[in-house]
């Protein structure tokens, strides 16, 4: 522990990131540039999220890290270990116990509270990048609320697939002002991002951008009047806990085409299983 | 009858910068008037400036000296000082020009070219088209050609399309540059009868009619242009 400053980053860097965070919270949905540092992990492994977490972490915090809803995948495990080693903080797999949840692309099924912070790892923060590669131009588009282009992408979806086929990184409008990419979370989670009691922070390490949604921010998914926003629905319910209405992962079970659907949120699934077990007595 | 067009001591010269600044005085002190219901025929050998005078009246050739006064009913326009907007307005309502050659956008059907002239003058699309069909038939343009571009037509046919276009929206002053030059006798008579009809309805007409018989048919007042030519060795 003594080899590292608390939570790895030096205090100057944290200060710089906190300033960016404050600005991001003050202008919900606006991408704030920050001087992203080299981290002891490759880009794409959550360097943005890790820097945000490192900057807001206190010794009393309890950290949960998820990767696609799961606590036990490589990325989640290594980031948890990283903070255990550099900050000696407590970690958890339970959503309700955590004060900070760092996530790669899911919002937990368990409703979040005001005393929690959700930190997103973001690969590409710019929702307009797909159609307009020039950063100088996209910044102007944000500044002038010149957002026709965003609907062009949704229009293309419908014309090619008959419906809006974007299922993740589904663009949203924040407080009627900034169009924002909610990182590659499934659009299933978009309603949870809206009016959320927890503070939501987004960090993109390679792209050097931070953005935020303060608690209870109004977040609307973009759509057309005659093609309204809809979340995914599954015919099946979770094979393990039996719950329906959660985000399900498809798991292949054998070589003969056998497959099952299970909750992507492992913590939530385990909880449902034990409740059922208790009920069954 | 009212004087519609007054040309006062008008001169026109060309300065040819590409030919060492040579100066051509093509019109010298031309003065003449045209009244409503009158046909004035410009006469003289070729090169005497007949077509140039028509172009000056239409505003295409800018006037070097003198003036050209056009009575538009409510007001008089002095062409020598007129702004482009005023000339555009004049062409829309007061002066029509039938040149010897048809100049149109490729691919546009004949019927549309003729009808558009009337539409620009304010007619409805249906009225204009009906009138265009009637005029083209009167001028013996076969029906099957109406939907084709006139650019592929013979010289005589093109000339008749040009006249049909002018007749579909005649203005109080009409300028004709050899309107019957490449027509057969039958069509020539039709066109002359149309022009005579314009005269009867009070149009002031200034034109070039090569054939003495045509001028007599139209009962035109002849103006000899030779006298406005630049004197030799001047």
């Amino acid at each position: 522990m003594s080899e590292y400053n608390f939570a790895y980053l030096n205090e100057q860097t944290k200060k710089m990131i906190r300033r960016a965070l404050l600005k991001a919270v003050a202008i919900p949905g606006y991408q704030v540039p920050f001087a992203s540092r080299e981290m002891p992990m490759p880009y794409g492994w959550g360097t943005g999220g890790v820097q945000v977490t490192a900057s807001i972490l206190t010794p009393d915090d309890i950290l949960k890290v998820i990767d696609q809803g799961a606590d036990d995948t490589t990325n989640a495990v290594s980031i948890r270990k990283f903070f255990k080693k550099t900050a000696a903080i407590e970690t958890t797999e339970l959503s309700e116990q955590a004060t900070i949840i760092q996530t790669r692309h899911r919002v937990p099924e368990t409703p979040l509270r005001e005393d929690q912070i959700l930190v997103y790892q973001v690969p590409i923060p710019e929702p307009l990048r797909f159609l307009e590669p020039r950063e100088t131009e996209t910044r102007k588009m944000h500044a002038y609320e010149d957002y026709g282009l965003m609907h062009v992408k949704l229009y293309e979806d419908i014309s090619q697939h008959g419906h809006i086929s974007t299922t993740y990184a589904y663009p949203v409008m924040v407080e009627g002002r900034y169009v924002m990419d909610p990182s590659p979370t499934p659009k299933f989670d978009n309603p949870k991002i809206n009016n959320c009691p927890a503070l939501q922070l987004f960090g993109a390490g390679r792209e050097k951008r931070i953005y935020a949604l303060p608690p209870y921010t109004k977040v609307t998914s973009l759509d057309f009047e005659d093609h309204p926003f809809e979340v995914q629905k599954w015919q099946a319910s979770c094979e393990l806990c039996g719950t329906s209405g959660t985000f399900l992962d498809e798991v292949i079970t054998d070589d003969k085409g056998g497959r099952i659907f299970v909750c992507s949120d492992t913590d939530f699934c385990r909880k449902q299983q034990s409740e059922k077990f208790e009920e069954a007595g | 009858m009212q004087e519609r067009l007054k040309i006062k001591n008008l001169s026109k010269n060309f300065v040819l910068h590409t030919q060492n600044g040579a100066i051509l005085n093509i019109l010298n002190n031309v003065s003449l008037e045209v009244r409503d219901g009158e046909i004035v025929a410009l006469c003289g050998p070729s090169g005497v400036g007949k077509s140039s005078l028509l172009k000056a009246v239409f505003g295409t050739y800018r006037i070097s000296q003198g003036d050209l006064v056009i009575n538009c009913g409510a007001k008089e326009i002095h062409l020598a000082k007129a702004s482009p907007a005023e000339i555009i307005e004049l062409r829309k309502h007061t002066i029509g020009y039938v040149s010897q050659f048809l100049r149109v956008i490729p691919r546009v059907p004949t019927i549309e070219i003729v009808a558009n002239a009337a539409i620009e003058a304010g007619a409805s699309s249906q009225q204009a088209t009906e009138k265009a069909v009637a005029l083209l038939e009167q001028l013996r343009i076969p029906k099957k050609l109406h939907t084709l571009s006139p650019l592929t037509f013979s010289g005589g046919e093109q000339q008749r399309v040009n006249i049909a276009r002018a007749m579909s929206a005649p203005r109080p002053i009409m300028l004709f540059d050899e309107p019957t030059a490449s027509l057969d006798p039958e069509n020539k008579t039709t066109v002359l009868t149309m022009i005579a009809g314009l005269k009867k309805s009070g149009t002031a007409i200034l034109g070039i009619f090569h054939d003495r018989n045509d001028r007599e048919f139209l009962n035109a007042r002849e103006v000899e242009m030779e006298k406005y030519k630049e004197p030799e060795n001047a």
């Binding site: 159609l131 282009l149 062009v152 | 910068h17 050739y61 800018r62 546009v108």
Partner: protein
């Protein structure tokens, strides 16, 4: 939009633009009246394209003012902030580039290209956007069945017509045309000219067209400006400039046209 025919649609006064020591536009002044098509002609490097870009707000002048008629009054464009200027550009104006790839989004369908301006103006009904896009494809003589095809599958002439449709979908008052027939075969040019003429007269558009093709200028424009080395050396009605050119350079330009 209702236009006041008594004042110009556009008024350019003493416009200057230099690139280093090169005077691209020197002391340019002119007016464009409602319903007019103004042609700007001159050889390559005469500053005509720069002038067009200055007026359209794509370049900033060094000096001079540009005014534009809005709600029957002249507003000074050179005082306008960028968001307001962009709003004008995507609603009341159109810009047709010489190369369709500069004016189209090549990676989205024809329908999305036409629909973009509508969506930028808050159209949020997919069915209506599509209907309007189909209407405009027909208006520029492209088979509406090709609405979902990418522009790159279109011929050069079709791409140029698609670019025109994309610009006209919001019924602009003023369209800037930069060598609109420049890169096209002669046979395709005629078709495009006919289309432009029809659109201009039916929609009551005003336009400023840069071209080096005097035949195109003659067929489409009411007035002409001749430019040389960044200056206007002659202006007048199209037939005046072409049949009775006054300046030495205009005479040279007109006399250099090949006859067919």
């Amino acid at each position: 939009m209702k236009m006041n025919p008594g004042i110009p649609l556009l008024k350019v006064e003493n416009l200057h633009k230099a690139f280093g020591k090169t005077k691209a536009c020197h002391d340019i002044s002119f007016e464009l009246w409602p319903g007019e098509v103004l042609g700007i002609v001159g050889e390559s490097g005469s500053g005509k394209s720069t002038l067009l870009r200055l007026i359209a707000g794509l370049l900033e002048p060094d000096k001079g003012t540009i005014s534009y008629q809005q709600n029957s009054k002249l507003i000074t464009l050179t005082d306008l902030d960028e968001p307001a200027l962009r709003h004008l550009q995507r609603t009341e104006w159109g810009f047709v580039h010489q190369h369709p790839s500069d004016g189209l989004r090549m990676n989205v369908s024809a329908g999305a290209n036409i629909g973009e301006r509508l969506m930028a103006n808050n159209w949020r009904h997919y069915g209506n956007i599509r209907e309007k896009a189909q209407h405009w494809l027909k208006a520029v003589e492209i088979d509406p069945a090709r609405i979902d095809d990418l522009p790159r599958t279109f011929s050069g002439g079709m791409q140029q017509r698609l670019q025109i449709a994309r610009n006209l979908v919001t019924n602009p008052n003023l369209v800037f045309l930069d060598e609109p027939t420049g890169g096209l075969d002669v046979s395709v040019q005629a078709k495009l000219l006919d289309l432009l003429r029809g659109l201009v007269s039916n929609l009551g558009l005003s336009a400023i067209m840069v071209t080096h093709d005097l035949a195109v200028a003659r067929l489409l424009s009411t007035r002409l400006i001749v430019m040389k080395q960044g200056e206007i050396i002659e202006h007048g009605l199209t037939d005046q400039v072409l049949e009775d050119p006054q300046a030495a350079y205009s005479q040279l330009l007109v006399s250099s046209v090949l006859q067919v």
